[in-house]
Amino acid sequence: MTVAEAHALCATLEVLPWDDAVVHAAIATATARFVGVSPQVSPVAGTPGMWWIGASGFAVGSHSAGGRGEASFAAGLLVAARDWHPRARIAIADTCIAARAATWSGASFDQAATMRSPLTIIPAGGDAEYLASAPLTLLPMDAEMRDALRALGVRTVGQFADLSASDVEQRWGDDGLATWRLAHGDDPRRPVLARLDEPPHVEMELAAPAATMEPVLFLVRPAVERLVTHLVSESRAIAALAITLTLDDARGALPTAQAHTVTREIRLPRPLARAAPLFERCRGLLSRWELSASVTAVRLTVVLTAPFTGEQGHLLDTSWRDPGAADAALERVRVELGPDVVVKPMSRDGYALERSGNWSEETDSYSAAASPRMQFSAGASRRILSSSSQLIRAEGTAENAFRLLDPPEHIDVDDPDAPRRMRWRGRAMSIIQSVGPERLSGDWWKDGFSRDYWRCERDDDAGELVLYRDAAGWWVQGWYD
């Protein structure tokens, strides 16, 4: 559904952009919860909200898991899953396909939705029998095969499974055969161990609990260097790094309790294998971290690595650019000036000045650094009056960057036909030359506009102003440096 389509259905709709990072983070959080219950946890690729979780060894009667059977295991999972979604469902089966079907349908495919329990356990060896009554739609297959089976009167997985393998292969080839195997509960997919190897990490305790980040930073630098050295020796670079602080608060005071730790993660735009920029990213993160208690220990964990490729060099060396160094430099800028200062221009094709370009917060740092139009202030640089490219030089460049006032500021102008004198921010200004008007109107299907634009040269040689007049009066919309 397009945004316009959605608005047509609900004019007051609030539209939020899809955020992969948020989704991934949520999946990672949920995965971490499940790992606490079972070591085999695999988020299902392409299906956010579904996990294959290993349940081997939890069979009824087994005491290997502290006396818990499958039911209590599932109940434990359900508690964790409900953090993800209040109506989460758990199913235990021999195969992934049966488990997945059971989360949809409950104990049987005839069960009414209202009767379904959030927990379904299919007895061991019972997958094929369970699946037999499932609708054929459960099985993945192409449309042609689905149509043909439907026409043949094959409506359930069981009916399909009743066909012979050779007949199926004879008619639908390997793909058909693979589907037929699924119908028999022969599913090769299995949950895998969430993380078998301890990720590279460095853990250090502070000599004394620290109330500020200074001592932490002191430890982080050598830790980062160690990690980088270790990974470079394996031709790997760091793609994501987690910093875990152990806090000295009341939650860790009880003898049986575990220490209170807080973890935050740095996801790098591109893998890094140099300590300096990595340290700058860590510094950026830690400098924004407000401590609720003293820190007693710090742990740096490499969450994600990538093959180490490419040469690295100096940020200011114009012969080549080092993305990592640029990222680090920008991170320092963020640390110094605030989180939203690094932005990049986004061009949009349109006549309304304020809508035809905008700044978006820079996340993919290098491309912003590489852009000659990078500015460190709010405002848009764009092709201003697109129809009059000579009047106002087309693209915002380093020479004529346009500073947009958002919102535009009201001014008083003496002559309605062509501005000669104006009063802005309490100051009178003379205009020695003005070019215009350029009539621009549009966006009538949204909040339309209709304006006459002038580009004016001031007497103080302080750049060219862009003024416009609309029904509400005169406005300054920005100026060129």
């Binding site: 559904m1 397009t2 945004v3 316009a4 389509e5 608005h7 047509a8 259905l9 609900c10 004019a11 007051t12 042609e144 149509d147 043909a148 026409a151 043949l152 009167g153 094959v154 009916q159 009743d162 066909l163 012979s164 393998a165 050779s166 007949d167 292969e169 004879q170 008619r171 639908w172 080839g173 390997d174 055969l177 037929w180 195997r181 028999h184 022969d186 949009r348 094709d349 349109g350 006549y351 035809s356 697109s386 129809s387 009059s388 490219s389 000579q390 009047l391 070019v435 215009g436 008007p437 350029e438 009539r439 621009l440 109107s441 549009g442 009538w444 299907w445 949204k446 909040d447 006459d452």
Partner: protein
């Protein structure tokens, strides 16, 4: 300053003439109709206005007509696209100017690469117009949709044309914009050479500084070369607010939404028709450009009236004139038509009538035209193509004698002046129907005989109607296709304007009717010139305005469509839909109109290739032809003639009987019995719901009753409230009266109710003292949508004439109203008579040769009112045996399988045909969905090699794709190969075999040999699974579940749209009957006023424009049909359900009147059943 005389004698002055103006005929780049531009120009006090559409003269006739009415001089021109050699390197600023100032002209990157430019050409004289038309023809003759001429061609046809350098896409402006003044001067000099200094530099100002600067350069160029420069506003719409519609059109051209258009849209709304004062104010610094427009307008003296086309000469024997030759042919024909010494033979009356007609033809110099038509009909007859003249030509005894028409006008007392008179300014209209599948031969014969330079088909400008306007507007605003479709279904009205009103929730919209045919949308009151007379105004108020039902408080349509009315885009939808009203959308080919000229046709109107192969069309529509005195011949395709042709052939083949349509017993009461019982599915003209509702009331018993029946159910008589009075009088419920005693001779045969156009004319002659020619002008004026002034004048004359003859004013008004109502939308009696012949012939064949008729009807599809499923159900009810598709017996077409005839013939003792059992209809493969013409070719070739022996044999020999084979299997086409299988298992077994046979290489488990050893060798791949199925692998076919009867029906409908295995309703009957749902047969036995419930497959949905918003459904169940009537309010409430649900349960009150059964619906419910109903075709809102 120029002045001009307006039609009302007012003297008009103007200080500015717009010389560059686009109408909506600049497709997707103009947002105003020519009439709208003229109307606005008149408001602004223009004395002249140019029309300069892009490579197009399609709008010039209506532009010139509207201008004449408003007293504005119409300057005819076009903005031509030409290529100027190698691409020039033009600096970027120029292309930016083009992009911004002309953004909506949608600069085509390809065009820029090929160095294509625009130039405005204005016709100074007739030669210039001819050259302009020729240039457009040449430009459009190459690549369809990308017109362009080269400079040399332009130079060859420059005479009589005045050139303006054009918009920013012109060569000179683009060079000037790039700052290359020298090159701009060179380019201008080239144009000066080509046009012999008839060139002016064009400047514009739309509030864009770069335009301003370019204009300065252009003025400098003009001064340097000492040529005039002019100002234009490059108009693309009439008023500034029309910019929205122009933006929408630009979006449609780019196939983008408004949000995605960005700077592809024009930067502001300045491209509208501005007043002289506005233009002068804007150009006050350089007024020369304004005054120069007047001088150029003065030079352009060409008017459309200067175009006088002539017909091509018909090749004649030496020394014989066309009149003499025609006379000889007519004489010859008269002897054949009216043999002497026979009952109904030739009399003095015949001679008098022929002499009169020939005299009129001689006076009007139309003998050549009649000879051309005779020649075309002669060609068709020689080729065995069934044809018959229709329309007013059947009023002519000459046409009857020439064999063009089949109705004897003298016998029926038809009025020749309806066809031709000396007062008529336009050529007569001769329409000939040909068997539609053979018509292309006739069309190509005409092209070949007269040459493509002298013959072309007439175009039809497709305009935005209700649904298309809603869909396109919604799409452009960013709505989804589903939302747009849903809204289009709900908002569907006659026209885009009425739909817009409905979207706004305006009450008037609820009186509107269905989609389509705009010409029926005007309610009678709209056709009365309200300003013409207080009498007429009073009449309109008193008689013609149908009070509209009250609108619901909230905007139902938006609410029903699930849209949020507070969203701005939703609010704008109505304005955009209304803005698209009647704008041309694309060009199509007229159903059969041809124009022929003696001079090269391209000098009269541009010709362009049509989308259909081997067809060329002119840029004018049929309504443009009469004003231009272009003779149109209509070579129409009529499915019924194809049907009759096929049916006669089948009857000859199956029964050895030759049916001669000219010798049918026209008084066979058994045939009329069928019609009285409304048993007319498949019968020409009287098979629609409305006709079938009328037949039991009218009870036709003679041929003339059929003429009346055909003419009665038409928008004209319905709007004129003539149907019910006629039926009541015929039933004896109401006495026969006449508006005035003097009208009794004219109206007697239609029981005092005028039904035919000729009667209207005769009433005008008798009651108002009109001459026959004046009466015809009255008819034309009443029906002519573009000429309100003319109509007002003649109507006034009619009423005054009646008053003079002593007819009271109120009666005169009533007579006027009746004539007015059917002036254009009623049939001429001659036309009704021509059609009535076909009605009777088809009814006759259906009655006596039902199997052949059914096969012919099915093989002539698509045609008529009903889908094959309904036709077959009807045939079965008539005892026709219909056999299923079977590749062993079926051909591509449906065929007839006789029993016994061959064997008796072989014995040399053929029995009388009446003793032979009727043949059965074998359904053909053409019914199977997904099989096209290519499949037909393959199938027929494969079949010619001998009968198929097995499914595998069929698969191997045809090599159809898997999908087609699956469809054939599921349609039961392979059942013949599986004789031992139970019927309910055959299709699945066939499909099982098809899937096997159609697969390519075998896999490890299933080698093609399918040998057990190979299989066992492969079983190690998945032993567990194989073990599970071990016992079943040998008998898989048998393990497939049998189909249920419902599944069989579903498969039939899904694959063929018809079922011989039970109607979908038959499967639901057991569920419905206990709930009181009756069959259509039970309904027919119920009593008037009973509350009933009926369910069925919706085979027809109608919302006629004449029915004040009422909706009519036809439901089909396993035993018959029933009609359902829905009030506008009920329909609005459940429009989506009613419009889209295939199986509907309706509860309501039964209405039975004179054996006509209707259910007045109150409640509706969709039936959900997998019985294939969704695959059945319904005839909706046509």
């Amino acid at each position: 300053m120029t002045d001009n005389q307006t039609s009302d004698g007012r003297r008009q002055t103007s200080e500015y003439v717009e010389l560059h103006c686009h109408s909506a005929y600049s497709l997707l780049d103009g947002a105003a109709l020519p009439e709208t531009l003229i109307e606005r120009a008149a408001e602004l006090g223009y004395s002249a206005l140019a029309l300069t559409d892009h490579d197009e003269l399609g709008g010039v006739v209506r532009f010139a007509q509207a201008a004449d009415e408003r007293g504005i001089r119409a300057i005819i021109g076009a903005e031509l696209t030409y290529s100027a050699g190698a691409p020039r390197r033009i600096r970027s600023s120029s292309s930016q100017l083009i992009r911004a100032a002309g953004a909506a002209e949608n600069v085509n990157p390809r065009a820029e690469r090929a160095a294509e430019y625009h130039i405005v050409l204005l016709a100074q004289d007739r030669e210039g117009y001819g050259n302009l038309s020729t240039l457009i023809t040449l430009g459009r003759s190459k690549t369809r949709g990308e017109p362009c001429v080269d400079l040399e061609t332009l130079a060859r046809h420059a005479k009589g044309l005045f050139a303006l350098t054009g918009c920013p896409r012109g060569l000179v402006p683009s060079l000037a914009a790039s700052g290359d003044v020298d090159a701009a001067c060179d380019a201008t000099a080239t144009l000066l050479d080509i046009f012999d200094r008839r060139v002016a530099i064009e400047c514009w100002d739309h509030g864009l500084p770069e335009e301003h600067r370019t204009s300065q350069t252009l003025i400098a160029v003009a001064r340097a070369l000492d040529i005039p420069w002019v100002v234009t506003n490059d108009v693309h719409y009439a008023r500034a607010r029309d910019r929205m519609v122009h933006d929408v059109l630009a979006c449609l051209k780019h196939k983008r939404t408004l949000d995605d258009m960005g700077t592809r849209l024009r930067p502001n709304a300045e491209w509208y028709l501005k007043s002289a004062a506005q233009m002068k104010r804007r150009w006050q610094h350089a007024p020369t450009g304004i005054t120069n427009t007047l001088a150029i307008a003065e030079r352009c003296q060409f008017r459309m009236a200067h175009v006088v086309p002539t017909l091509p000469a018909f090749p004649l024997p030496p020394g014989v004139s066309p009149d003499e030759y025609l006379e000889r042919l007519v004489e010859q024909g008269a002897r054949e038509r009216w043999p002497e010494n026979m009952d109904g033979g030739r009399t003095a009356e015949h001679d008098r009538q022929l002499a009169h007609e020939l005299q009129v033809i001689r006076t009007l110099r139309l003998a050549g035209f009649f000879l051309i038509m005779w020649d075309i009909v002669r060609f068709a007859r020689r080729r065995g193509i069934l044809c018959q003249g229709r329309g007013s030509a059947a009023n002519s005894a000459v046409c009857f004698c020439l064999g063009i028409t089949a109705v004897d006008p003298i016998k029926l007392g038809l009025l020749f002046e309806r066809f031709l008179s000396e007062e008529r300014t336009e050529a007569p209209d001769i329409d000939v129907d040909f068997a539609h599948e053979e018509r292309e031969h006739v069309i190509q014969y005409v092209y070949e005989k007269y040459g493509r330079d002298h013959a072309a088909m007439v175009c039809e400008q497709i305009t935005w109607k209700s649904r298309s306007a809603v869909r396109d507007a919604a799409r452009v605003l960013g709505f989804s296709v589903q939302q747009a479709d849903r809204l289009a279904t709900l908002a569907d009205r006659h026209s885009a304007r009425e739909t817009a009103a409905a979207l706004r929730g305006e009450a008037a919209a609820f009186s509107a009717g269905p989609p389509g045919r705009m010409k029926y949308s005007a309610v009678p009151s709209e056709r009365i010139p309200r300003s013409s007379s207080p009498l007429i105004r009073a009449a309109g108020a008193a008689e013609n305005v149908n009070p509209a039902p009250k609108a619901p408080a909230e905007n139902n349509l938006l609410y029903l469509a699930g849209l949020d009315a507070s969203d701005k885009r939703v609010q704008l939808l109505a304005d955009l839909v209304g803005g698209l009203h009647q704008l041309p959308r694309h060009r199509s080919i007229h159903v059969g109109g041809f124009v022929l000229t003696k001079e090269p046709l391209a000098t009269i109107v541009p010709i362009e290739p049509a989308s259909m192969k081997d067809r060329t069309v002119i840029q004018w529509e049929k309504d443009d032809l009469d004003p231009m005195r272009l003779v149109k011949i209509d070579l129409l395709g009529l499915g019924m003639l194809t049907l009759l042709q096929k049916c006669i052939t089948y009857v000859r083949k199956t029964r050895g009987v030759t049916v001669d349509l000219a010798q049918l017993d026209m008084a066979d009461q058994a045939v009329f019995d069928d019609m009285c019982n409304a048993d007319t599915i498949g019968v020409f003209q009287i098979e629609s719901r409305a006709q079938m509702n009328t037949l039991p009331r009218l009870k036709p018993r003679t041929f003339y009753d059929l003429v009346v029946e055909v003419a009665l159910i038409r928008p004209g008589p319905i709007q004129g409230d003539m149907v019910h009075p006629y039926l009541r009088r015929r039933a004896g419920i109401e006495p026969v009266t006449y508006p005035h005693p003097s009208l009794e001779p004219i109206l007697k045969r239609t029981l005092g109710v005028p039904l035919f156009q000729e009667q209207g004319m005769q009433v005008a002659i008798v009651a108002a003292g009109f001459t026959p020619g004046e009466a015809d002008i009255l008819r034309k004026a009443m029906g002519h949508k573009r000429s309100h002034e003319r109509m007002a004048a003649i109507c006034q004359k009619l009423i005054e004439g009646m008053k003079r003859n002593g007819i009271a004013e109120d009666i005169a008004l009533r007579i006027y109203h009746q004539i007015n109502a059917f002036a254009d939308y009623g049939f001429p009696e001659s036309h009704a008579a021509s059609f009535a012949l076909l009605v009777y012939a088809s009814a006759y064949l259906k009655h006596y040769y039902a199997p052949e008729f059914t096969a012919a009807l099915l093989n002539s599809q698509p045609m008529g009112f009903y889908a094959p499923g309904t036709i077959i159900e009807d045939a079965k009810r008539h005892g026709v045996k219909v056999r299923a598709i079977n590749v062993l017996r079926s051909g591509w077409d449906h065929s007839l399988e006789g029993r016994g005839r061959r064997s008796r013939e072989e014995r040399g003792d053929p029995p009388p045909s009446s003793l032979l059992p009727p043949p059965s209809v074998r359904l053909g493969l053409r019914l199977v969905k997904g099989l096209g013409s290519k499949a037909r070719e393959i199938f027929e070739v494969a079949r010619s090699d001998g009968p198929f022996t097995s499914v595998e044999d069929f698969v191997q020999r045809t090599r159809f794709d898997r999908r087609s084979l699956r469809h054939l299997a599921m349609a039961g086409a392979f059942d013949g190969f599986l004789k031992t299988e139970p019927d309910l298992k055959k299709r699945r077994s066939a499909l099982w075999e098809v899937l096997d046979a159609a697969r390519g290489d075998a896999g490890p488990l299933a080698p093609r040999s399918n040998s057990r050893s190979a299989r066992s060798a492969a079983e190690h791949v998945n032993p567990r699974a194989e073990r599970a199925a071990e016992n079943t692998s040998e008998r898989q076919g048998a393990r497939l579940p049998a189909m249920s009867p419902g599944e069989l029906t579903e498969a039939d409908y899904r694959m063929t749209g018809v079922s011989l295995n039970g109607h979908p309703m038959a499967h639901l009957r057991a569920l419905l009957a206990p709930n009181g749902v009756l069959t259509t047969a039970q309904i027919a036995r119920a009593r008037d006023g009973d509350r009933v419930a009926v369910a069925g497959l919706v085979i027809c949905r109608q919302r006629p424009g004449t029915a004040k918003g009422f909706v009519f459904l036809t439901l089909e169940d396993e035993v018959g049909l029933v009609n359902v009537v829905i009030t506008p309010q009920r329909f609005e409430r459940q429009a989506l359900l009613i419009s889209t649900t295939p199986l509907l349960l309706v509860r309501g009150v039964l209405q039975i009147e004179q054996r006509v059964v209707n259910v007045r619906a109150e409640r509706f419910r969709g039936l959900q059943a997998e019985l294939g109903a969704e695959y059945a075709k319904s005839h909706d809102f046509h």
